[in-house]
């Protein structure tokens, strides 16, 4: 059993996006505990990939391919997890880009990095109205609501979400980011966290749930 879980881990480390789903199927067929496969295989594999990226040993496309491999395997393994059991995560993050802003690549990188580091991420996409952020925060009760804006014209909308959120769901922490956003600005609009890049977002998220 151990051997096939190690193979799964290596499949993430080697970015085997096309074949990893077959390997995951084999794992399920052999009766290996899917939670063990997820936690000791996928999570460990993506952690290695994330660390290598952090050290500058690999490039962004490799990180993204590692995350894609993980996703492909999760799609097979998660449905096989017995009802009532859950994989351990660091916390739930609801993420999106604010209204009238459809710049998504930075937000997607943050999603990838957060998933790679053990967070469960719900991505609302781009051009998300304030009302939707608030609605989802109420429904899903995440640990963190993460927002991005790339334009100076859309950046103030993050503050419009934070103010009512703190009244409606005070336990939900916030992280903001995007090219024009600074730590000073984040404080001004009352955000709990801020990051200038995707790896910083992970540190910030860990601090907020820690």
């Amino acid at each position: 059993m151990e051997e096939i879980v190690t193979r799964l881990k290596n499949a993430v480390i080697n970015y085997e996006m096309e074949t990893i789903a077959d390997l995951a199927k084999q794992i399920v067929d052999q009766g290996v505990d899917p939670l063990v496969a997820i936690e000791q295989g996928l999570a460990e594999g993506i952690k290695t990939v994330g660390e290598r990226f952090g050290k500058g040993e690999i490039f962004l496309p490799e990180l993204v391919m590692g995350a894609e491999a993980m996703k492909a395997a999760l799609a097979v393994l998660e449905p096989a997890v017995p009802a009532g059991q859950h994989r351990a995560t660091l916390g739930k993050v609801v993420i999106g880009t604010v209204q009238d802003d459809i710049h998504e690549i930075g937000k997607n990188l943050v999603s990838t990095m957060l998933s790679s580091n053990g967070f469960e991420v719900v991505d609302l996409g781009v051009n998300v109205p304030a009302a939707d952020f608030l609605k989802k925060a109420g429904e899903l009760k995440p640990n963190i609501l993460a927002m991005s804006a790339l334009m100076t014209t859309t950046m103030p909308r993050m503050g419009e979400i934070i103010a009512p959120l703190k009244k409606e769901n005070p336990s939900v922490k916030t992280i903001v980011g995007g090219a024009p956003v600074t730590d000073v600005y984040a404080k001004e609009i009352g955000s709990d966290g801020y990051s200038g890049d995707a790896s910083g977002a992970v540190d910030s998220a860990k601090k907020l749930v820690g």
Partner: protein, 489 residues
């Protein structure tokens, strides 16, 4: 003397065959893949004109003949008129013009050195500086007035710009129909009415398309409004090779070209003959840091190719430069120089992006004047040389003869002014003299120049009655909340 940078030297990256291939490749993509058009108004317009629309995907496949027709309707010479006509920037495919970078949200305080959110005062100072600098020809509000009420920041930006420079003002904040109407109304007021504005548009709007192959609803609705109102437009594509475009530069130029041409199609269908400038700012995503590699050689090459594509279509180009440096200094200078020299050598009509660091985010006033000097040097580099009686100076050579010098010749004084670049920051004095005056760095000298300009340079403000109109437009547009209604069922 004409305004802008005279161009006599040009290098070529793409051959005629390359240009044809990129054009046909782009038409193929527009017909086969299409573009996402979020605006229902624009989808309706495209549908009525024979495009295949997928309402669910909000996409449009655009047949080649519509693109060819739009290119035929384009304008080849676009004058970005200025409050003071001596600053009129005539984009005629023969002159280059420089524009500072725009809409940063951060500034390093000139007095305290603290990095903080940008304010209207920063915008006023940088605008005054750009008005005074000889190598900044067109103005773009460099930072946002983030200390103003959020819903009207962009209107304050335009008001401050119009009052503190006599040069043409290009903004990039017309991202909704309402914004377009307000910004246009302010332009009309400043020009002395709609009729005068249409004759001499003193503002213009740069609109970003979204890579890969998308057009935002607000941006396109605003664009059609601008076109109807006589406001010149730049459609500026920004795929990032490897991330939002293919890793190859030419591949990303194809994606960007498809975005610009499809925006041109919509604009020309709506307002035939509208003034549209071809914009392109392609810089790769740095795959180690996830920062856009502004000021990289790839950025320069793409801006050069963007210019070649624009000229292939007979359109003026607006291409980008920027830098990822965090402070004025060696890295910033290398990035500005690399980013500017390639596109200017390729014949860029309008280059925007000097002065802000951290890839178009952070204002350092010193960098604005350093970059002005860099552009001055490049302007000399690309002016061109020619052999005629005056430049060959055979009569002078004969007169001076063998073994003497040319210092006391009238010819020397005459051509010193036009043929020798006179730097204002580059220090060519001896080490001895440099030491005696405190071994100043270029940043020190730049600081002194900024101080002098801000203390001495006066820009005539707009007339009081015009300012009353501008203030009224801003006040009427102010909203407390504008986050929109829920789309979730």
């Amino acid at each position: 003397m004409s305004y802008g940078i005279q161009r006599g030297i040009r290098f070529q990256i793409l051959s005629e065959e390359d240009l044809d291939r990129i054009h046909w490749g782009t038409l193929h993509i527009l017909e086969k893949v299409g573009v996402q058009v979020d605006s229902p108004t624009c989808r309706k317009l495209l549908k009525e004109n024979g495009c295949e629309i997928d309402e669910k995907a909000r996409s449009a496949k655009i047949p080649s003949h519509l693109v060819e027709e739009a290119i035929r309707k384009k304008k080849s010479t676009i004058t970005l008129a200025a409050r003071n006509p001596k600053y009129d920037a005539r984009l005629d495919l023969n002159h280059s013009h420089m524009c500072a970078n725009g809409n940063g949200a951060v500034a390093v305080d000139f007095e305290t050195g603290a990095r903080r959110n940008s304010t209207k005062k920063d915008l006023i100072d940088s605008t005054t500086l750009c008005d005074a600098l000889p190598n900044v020809h067109v103005h773009w509000p460099m930072v946002s007035s983030t200390d103003m009420p959020p819903s009207v920041v962009h209107l304050h930006d335009l008001e401050a710009s119009l009052n503190h420079t006599e040069k043409h003002v290009m903004y990039e904040t017309g991202v909704t129909l309402a914004d377009a109407k307000n910004l246009t109304a302010m332009g009309y007021a400043a020009a002395g009415g709609e009729k005068e504005y249409r004759r001499r548009p003193i503002t213009s709007c740069l609109q970003c398309t979204y890579a890969p192959l998308q057009h935002d609803a607000g941006v396109m609705d605003a664009s059609l409004e601008f076109a109807r109102s006589g406001v010149p437009l730049v459609f500026f594509c920004m795929p990032q090779p490897g991330a939002t475009g293919p890793a190859t530069m030419v591949g990303s130029v194809v994606v960007g070209n498809a975005e610009v041409l499809s925006a041109l199609v919509m604009t020309q269908l709506s307002t035939p003959g509208a003034a549209v400038i071809y914009g392109l700012g392609i810089a790769p995503l740095d795959m180690r840091t996830t920062v856009r590699a502004g000021g990289s050689p790839e950025h320069a090459i793409c801006s050069a190719m963007g210019t070649e594509m624009a000229h292939y279509y007979g359109m003026p180009s607006c291409v980008g430069v920027s830098g990822t440096a965090k402070e004025p200094g060696i890295q910033a200078a290398i990035e500005t120089y690399t980013g500017c020299v390639g596109p200017l050598l390729a014949g860029a009509d309008l280059m925007c992006g000097i002065g802000l660091l951290e890839d178009s985010s952070c204002l350092h006033l010193e960098q604005v004047v350093i970059d002005d000097e860099i552009v001055g040097a490049i302007a000399r580099l690309i002016r061109g040389e020619w052999a005629c009686d005056d430049t060959m100076a055979l009569d002078v050579i004969e007169k001076v003869g063998i073994g003497k010098n040319y210092l006391a010749q009238k010819h020397t004084m005459q051509y010193l002014k036009t043929d020798h670049f006179m730097p204002t920051l580059i220090d060519r004095r001896s080490e001895d003299n440099w030491s005696k005056t405190g071994k100043k760095s270029m940043k020190d000298t730049a600081r002194e120049k900024v101080k002098k300009i801000l203390a001495e340079h006066k820009v005539p403000a707009l007339p009081d009655d015009v300012n009353k109109q501008l203030v009224a437009i801003i006040e009427n547009s102010r909203k407390d909340l504008w986050g929109g209604e829920s789309k979730v069922q």
